[in-house]
C-alpha cells in the first residue's frame, strides 16, 4: 500500500505541474514592463543529443546580450533574451517559432540550432516578417526561405572551395582523399571542394562517407592508406573528427589532415585529439590570433564567465547578436528596419572575421580563416579573401 500511495503522490504532483504550467505561459512570457526593452528571440539544442553545442550557443547569446546592455544597449533601450530549448527537434522548433512570433513579440531572432530546426522555423519567421539570423546552420535552403532570413556562417560551398584552395596552394597536395560526414554539412562542403579542385586541376579521390556518431575509423583509414593520398580533407564534427585524427596517428599514417569549422572547438576537439592534432590545418571563421579587439575581448570574457575556451559555435552566435545590434543602431528597432539594417551591413568587424555584407539571398560574405594546430592550440595560418572563392553561390 505504501508504494501505491507514493505512486499516487507522484501522479498528483505531475498533474499539478501540468495544470500550473498550463496557466502560466512558459519561459518566454515575460512582462515588457520597462518600455525600452527590445526582445530578441533565441533557440538552441540546450538539452538532448547536441547539448554541448546548444550550451555553447546559449552561453554566448547570454554573454552578448549582457555586454550589449552593459555598453548602453541600443540607444538606451535594453535587449532582452527570450530563450528556448529545441532539443534538436524540428517539431519543437516550429512551436517555438510560433511562440516567438505570436506571443513573445520579439523584434528579431537568432537561431543557435542545427539545420533541421532552423530550417523548420525559418518559414514562420519569414511569414511573420521577423528577421532571423542563423548563427551556424549551413543548410543552403535556410537563407533561401525569404528576405527576412540570413545565414551568418559560410555557405558550405564557400568553405569547401576555400579548403580546396588551401590544399592546393598551402599544403601542395597532389592527391586528396576525402572522409566526410554524411549530412548536409558534409555534402555541401564536399561539393564546394570538388568544384574548386576541378577548376584548379587538383586530383581528388571519391569521397568516403561516415555517419554521425561513428567512432571507429581504422577500417576506412586503412582503405585510404592503401589508396595513397597526401592530404585528407575531412568535413567532420569534433566528436568524429577527433577520433579520425587519433587513428591517423595510431596507425602511423603519413597524411596531412585538412579539417573544417566542425573541428573548431577546444573542449570538444583539441583536448580529445590531444597531441595528435598538432599540424592539423582547418578552414573556419574564427581567428584566435586576431589582433582585433572584439576577438580578444570575446575570448577573454567568455573564458572568465564560463571557465573554458569558446568555440566556433559560440563565436558565431555571439556575432549574430552584434550584427543585430549594429543593424538596430543604424536602422531602427522594428522588425522591418532591423531586416533592412542587416541587409545593409557593410564591413562590420565581428569575432568571426570582417563581414563584408550579405548577398541578396541573405548569405554572409566574409573571408575564410585558416588555422593550424600548434602545441595544442589553434593558431593563425592564413586567410582567404579571394572574392571568387568567398562569394557564395546564389543558385
Amino acid at each position: 500500500m505504501k508504494t501505491l500511495k507514493f505512486g499516487l503522490l507522484m501522479i498528483s504532483l505531475l498533474v499539478i505541474a501540468l495544470l500550473a504550467s498550463a496557466c502560466g505561459n512558459g519561459a518566454g512570457n515575460t512582462q515588457s514592463g520597462a518600455a525600452k526593452t527590445i526582445k530578441i528571440g533565441f533557440f538552441a539544442p540546450e538539452t538532448g543529443p547536441e547539448a554541448a553545442d546548444g550550451t555553447s550557443a546559449y552561453n554566448s547569446a547570454k554573454l552578448a546580450v549582457e555586454q550589449i546592455n552593459a555598453g548602453g544597449g541600443i540607444n538606451g533601450a535594453k535587449l532582452e533574451l527570450v530563450n528556448y530549448d529545441d532539443q534538436l527537434d524540428t517539431k519543437q522548433a516550429v512551436s517555438i517559432a510560433q511562440k516567438l512570433t505570436t506571443r513573445d513579440g520579439v523584434a528579431a531572432v537568432v537561431s543557435g540550432s542545427y539545420s533541421g530546426p532552423t530550417r523548420a522555423a525559418a518559414p514562420i519567421f519569414q511569414q511573420a516578417k521577423i528577421p532571423m539570423i542563423s548563427a551556424y546552420a549551413v543548410h543552403p535552403a535556410i537563407p533561401r526561405t525569404g528576405n527576412y532570413i540570413f545565414q551568418q556562417s559560410f555557405s558550405g560551398v564557400v568553405e569547401g572551395a576555400a579548403a580546396a584552395e588551401v590544399a592546393k596552394n598551402e599544403l601542395h597536395a597532389k592527391n586528396v582523399a576525402i572522409l566526410a560526414i554524411d549530412n548536409d554539412f558534409g555534402h555541401t562542403l564536399v561539393q564546394g571542394f570538388k568544384q574548386r579542385a576541378a577548376q584548379t586541376g587538383l586530383k581528388v579521390q571519391e569521397p568516403n562517407w561516415f555517419h554521425f556518431g561513428d567512432t571507429e575509423f581504422t577500417p576506412v583509414l586503412t582503405k585510404i592508406k592503401d589508396n595513397g593520398a597526401d592530404v585528407l580533407f575531412m568535413p567532420a564534427y569534433a566528436a568524429e573528427g577527433s577520433q579520425i585524427i587519433r587513428r591517423i596517428h595510431d596507425m602511423g599514417l603519413k597524411i596531412q589532415p585538412l579539417g573544417t569549422e566542425g573541428l573548431d572547438s577546444t573542449t570538444q576537439f583539441l583536448e580529445v585529439a590531444g597531441k595528435n592534432a598538432n599540424g592539423l590545418v582547418i578552414v573556419t571563421n574564427l581567428n584566435r590570433d586576431s589582433k582585433e579587439q572584439v576577438v580578444k575581448d570575446f575570448i577573454k570574457a567568455y573564458k572568465e564567465k564560463y571557465g573554458h575556451e569558446p568555440d566556433m559555435v559560440g563565436a558565431s552566435t555571439y556575432d549574430a547578436f552584434y550584427v543585430l545590434a549594429e543593424a538596430m543602431r543604424k536602422s531602427g528597432v522594428t522588425p522591418d528596419k532591423i531586416r533592412d539594417g542587416i541587409a545593409n551591413t557593410k564591413n562590420f568587424q565581428a569575432v568571426t572575421g570582417k563581414i563584408e555584407g550579405y548577398d541578396k539571398i541573405g548569405q554572409v560574405i566574409k573571408p575564410v580563416q585558416v588555422q593550424q594546430v600548434k602545441d595544442g592550440a589553434f593558431r593563425y595560418f592564413g586567410e582567404i579573401t579571394d572574392p571568387a572563392i568567398i562569394t557564395p553561390p546564389v543558385n
Partner: protein, 298 residues
C-alpha cells in the same frame, strides 16, 4: 492563436500515432518499437509524390497510407515467425534501416532532406495552420470512431484473445495469422496517414524526424496511457505530446522529468494510467464503492 494551432496539430499527430500503435501493440499485443518507420514511410511517400510528381496532398495521402500499410503487412507476416522479444528488436532494426535508407539514398533527398512540400489545399484554398489543426483532429475523431467500432466488432475480441493467449485463441478457431496481419496493416496504415499530414504540415522533412527516439515516444504514450484503452492512449498522446511545451518552465530538466515519468508510471501503474485493471482505474471505482466494501484481501 497560431501557436495553439501548431501545438494542436503536433499533439494531434502524436495522438494519431499513439492510436495507430495501440492497435498493434495494445490490442494485438505485438511489440513494435519501430513505429516511427511507418510514420516516416508515409511522410516520405507523400513528400516525394508531391514534390517530384506533382501529386496533390489528397492523392499523396492515399498512396502514403497504402505504402505504409503494405510494408506493415510484410512486417505482420514476419511477426508470425518471431518470438516476442525478437519481434521487438526486429522492429527497432526496421526503424534504423528505414531511416538509414532515407538518409543515404539520393532519391529520398539523402542527407539534405526534402523541402518545398505543398500544404494541403481544397480548390484554390491552401490550408493554413488552423485548417491543418482542424484536419488532423477530424482524422483523429474518425480514427477513434473506427477504432471503437473495431473493438466492439468481432475483430476486437479476436485481437484481445490473441493478446491474452495466442494458443487458446487459435484453438477457439480464430485465424490468428489473419488478425495479426490485419492489425499491422491498420496500425501502420494510420501511421502512414499521420506521416503524410506531418510532411505537408512541416513542408520539409528529413530522416532525423523519424528516428528511434520518436518510436520510443509513441510507445511511451501507449504504455503510459494504458495499452488497449482508447481514452488512455489519447491521454498518453496528449500528455507526452504537450510535455515539451508544458515543461518549458523547467527547461533544463525536461528530459529528466520525461524519463522519471516513464519509470514511475511503469513501476506503480504497470498497466498504464487508464489501462485494463490499472490501479488508477481500480482506485477511481474503489472510491465510489468504498463504503460497505469491507476489507479487501490483496
Amino acid at each position: 492563436m497560431n501557436y495553439w494551432a501548431v501545438l494542436a496539430t503536433t499533439v494531434g499527430i502524436w495522438v494519431l500515432l499513439a492510436l495507430s500503435l495501440n492497435i498493434i501493440t495494445g490490442e494485438a499485443g505485438q511489440p513494435n518499437i519501430g513505429h516511427a518507420a511507418f510514420f516516416g514511410i508515409g511522410a516520405y511517400t507523400s513528400a516525394i509524390l508531391n514534390t517530384k510528381y506533382g501529386v496533390d496532398f489528397w492523392g499523396a495521402l492515399i498512396v502514403a497510407i497504402a505504402v505504409s500499410a503494405l510494408v506493415g503487412a510484410v512486417l505482420g507476416l514476419i511477426s508470425m515467425r518471431l518470438r516476442n522479444d525478437f519481434l521487438a528488436i526486429t522492429t527497432i532494426g526496421l526503424n534504423f534501416v528505414t531511416v538509414a535508407v532515407f538518409q543515404t539514398v539520393h532519391y529520398f533527398g539523402g542527407a539534405m532532406g526534402i523541402g518545398g512540400i505543398q500544404p494541403p489545399r481544397i480548390g484554390g484554398l491552401a490550408f493554413g495552420t488552423l485548417e491543418i489543426a482542424g484536419l488532423i483532429w477530424v482524422v483523429v475523431a474518425l480514427v477513434v470512431i473506427l477504432n471503437r467500432h473495431l473493438q466492439k466488432a468481432w475483430f476486437g475480441y479476436a485481437l484481445r484473445a490473441i493478446r491474452d493467449d495466442e494458443a487458446a485463441a487459435a484453438a477457439m478457431g480464430i485465424d490468428v495469422r489473419r488478425y495479426k496481419v490485419l492489425a499491422f496493416v491498420i496500425g501502420t496504415g494510420l501511421a502512414g496517414l499521420a506521416g503524410s499530414i506531418y510532411a505537408h504540415f512541416m513542408t520539409f522533412i528529413s530522416a532525423g524526424d523519424f528516428g528511434f527516439n520518436i518510436s520510443v515516444t509513441i510507445l511511451a504514450m501507449v504504455v503510459l496511457g494504458g495499452r488497449g484503452s482508447i481514452p488512455g492512449v489519447m491521454l498518453g498522446g496528449i500528455v507526452l505530446g504537450m510535455a515539451p511545451e508544458v515543461f518549458r518552465f523547467i527547461s533544463d530538466y525536461r528530459l529528466l522529468v520525461f524519463g522519471s515519468i516513464l519509470v514511475l508510471v511503469m513501476r506503480f501503474f504497470p498497466s498504464g494510467l487508464l489501462g485494463q485493471g490499472s490501479r488508477l482505474q481500480e482506485l477511481l471505482t474503489g472510491f465510489i464503492r468504498r463504503e460497505g466494501a469491507g476489507a479487501r484481501v490483496r
